[in-house]
Symmetry: C2
Subunit: 332 residues, 2 copies
């Protein structure tokens, strides 16, 4: 569902309308009434059909949008998040995770949530990803990857101020994130020998220490440890040039030192087509690479491209995981 006052419902309806183009069948965990009303208001020809179990979804998908009911119990106005809806938002995430954990769905694709509204309702997690990690029962680090056709990026530090990101940047963090990314590229993206490009932190990657010490003191030691583990990683690369068109094809993922170093280039290159992938969870999870877009919610102007890309990527990742499990003699 995601934030019901945002564009999540609209883009999900629009994805279903493109089902003839090979969209992987999905089941929405959402409020069927609000979806039907939204389809009517936006003049989208989408028959919404409540199902009791996700196993019904694939056969139904060609003729109707299958929905597992997660009732809001109130009417949400587009653009106006209401903390009273937060319980349903949370339950829809829990229900989706329960389905993949039970093997009844192959992947979780999440629509954007409005963090402030969830906080107001007492949601105790910084965001989606941390909540999913909790539901998955994992203690270790989960890693955000953004991926489009031309580029994959993985930030080492997260949603913190730039100054705090500098303080939090350690060789351990670089090694952990790079190793998780490399493992995911093998398992979920089918790349036999992933090549990582590790960014510098400072302009020109520090110019041998004259523009900052972190490349020598943090990043190079991390690169040595990655090499010892047999992980192919080059760097520290000058951040301003490594995302240029003629260079970004030379690696499978860029390991970035801070949030915007990763997100600026990928959104400059492909805003609508980028997908957010959570690595390090026991199940496949993707999401569109945009927010709730409250300013255009309800207007019919939201682009479904990123959610569509998230659905396709989730399906491809799930197929590869299933394939490896079969190859390893486990049930798919």
């Amino acid at each position: 569902m995601g934030e019901p006052a945002g564009v999540g419902g609209e883009i999900a309806l629009k994805c279903w309308l493109r089902r003839g183009e090979g969209v992987p069948p999905f089941v929405l965990v959402d409020d069927p009434e609000r979806l039907a009303e939204l389809a009517w208001r936006l003049d989208l020809d989408v028959p919404v059909r409540t199902v009791e179990s996700p196993e019904r979804a694939p056969a139904l998908f060609a003729e109707a949008l299958p929905v597992l009911a997660c009732p809001l119990g109130l009417k949400i106005v587009p653009g106006k998040p209401d903390p009273a809806g937060a319980g349903a938002v949370r339950r829809s995430i829990e229900a989706a995770v329960a389905l993949v954990q039970a093997g009844r769905a192959l992947a979780v694709v999440t629509n954007p949530i409005q963090k402030r509204t969830l906080y107001q309702a007492g949601f105790p997690f910084p965001g989606h990803t941390e909540f999913l990690a909790e539901l998955a029962g994992i203690a270790g680090r989960s890693v955000m990857m953004l991926a489009c056709d031309e580029l994959r990026v993985v930030p080492v530090t997260g949603h913190v101020s730039l100054r705090r990101a500098l303080d939090e940047l350690t060789a351990d963090a670089v090694v952990d994130v790079a190793a998780i990314a490399e493992a995911a590229l093998r398992r979920d993206f089918g790349i036999a020998r992933p090549r990582l490009a590790v960014a510098g932190l400072n302009p020109h990657a520090g110019e041998g220490g004259s523009l900052g010490p972190e490349e020598e003191e943090v990043i190079r030691p991390a690169l040595r440890r990655l090499e010892e583990r047999g992980i192919a990683a080059v760097g520290p690369l000058p951040p301003d040039t490594m995302f240029a068109a003629h260079l970004r094809g030379s690696y499978d993922a860029a390991v970035c030192m801070y949030h915007d170093q990763a997100l600026i280039p990928i959104k400059a290159i492909d805003f609508d087509g980028a997908v957010n992938v959570t690595l390090g969870l026991p199940f496949v999870r993707t999401s569109p690479d945009h927010g709730t877009a409250l300013d255009i919610a309800g207007s019919g102007r939201a682009s479904e491209r990123s959610l569509l890309a998230a659905l396709h990527m989730a399906a491809a990742m799930a197929r590869r995981r299933a394939g490896s499990a079969v190859a390893a003699g486990q049930p798919a």
Copy 2:
């Protein structure tokens, strides 16, 4: 000339070869012998012609590459910068500036220099821009702008470590840089009412202070002062989205808080076509947006696109300055 061991000579020769495509006539301040040898070695059909004065260049340009002699006095091997050549590199910059100051040329276009080699020879300036400011006798701030067809960016802080950039970021600096950029957009780019987009520093522009204080404490106060001065500036904008294709057309220049925030997006969008423009000098100065590329120097593989764009941009800026001077009743 720029660094004679770099790609500067090669890309200048290649620009002259495209003279039929409306390349503005230019005169090289360089060593004629090394240029003739380079043309021969790279099999480029460029007749190099030494001239005594730049006034000869326009008439000659169709049939030969005009060069004002600035002899190196030694043979430089491509890819191997030699501090013994630094004196000539410096003299070529001084000569070019003297020509524009005397009104004998309209603009200075500089080829990339190798800073380390110049430092070894006792060059006391951090880079080209500071040397040009010294030659121009200006005490104030000069500002680097990078410009391509789709985007112009102006970093507030410069070639310093990211941590130092955080420390150096002040409202005064944001206001100064934004005001210089706005004035240049009017005078040199012919934009009657420039619109500036001012970036945040932190992820999501600080999310109201929860991801860092600088947006509230530094950038918003700067925006209020810009508004008082009648400068159209919006911000602080989330850095990761403001460079997206559908947003970058909504402003004439992005005022960025640090080097890579400005350079990552423009090089991701258009690596070869971006031009470096120095704002705040009393004369027009542009340069290609790349370095000496020692690794490919002498191979013939260097792209002249950025130097070509720098020549075109310098000519357009000089025409506008001359036009405004004429309009203001001054000699062009």
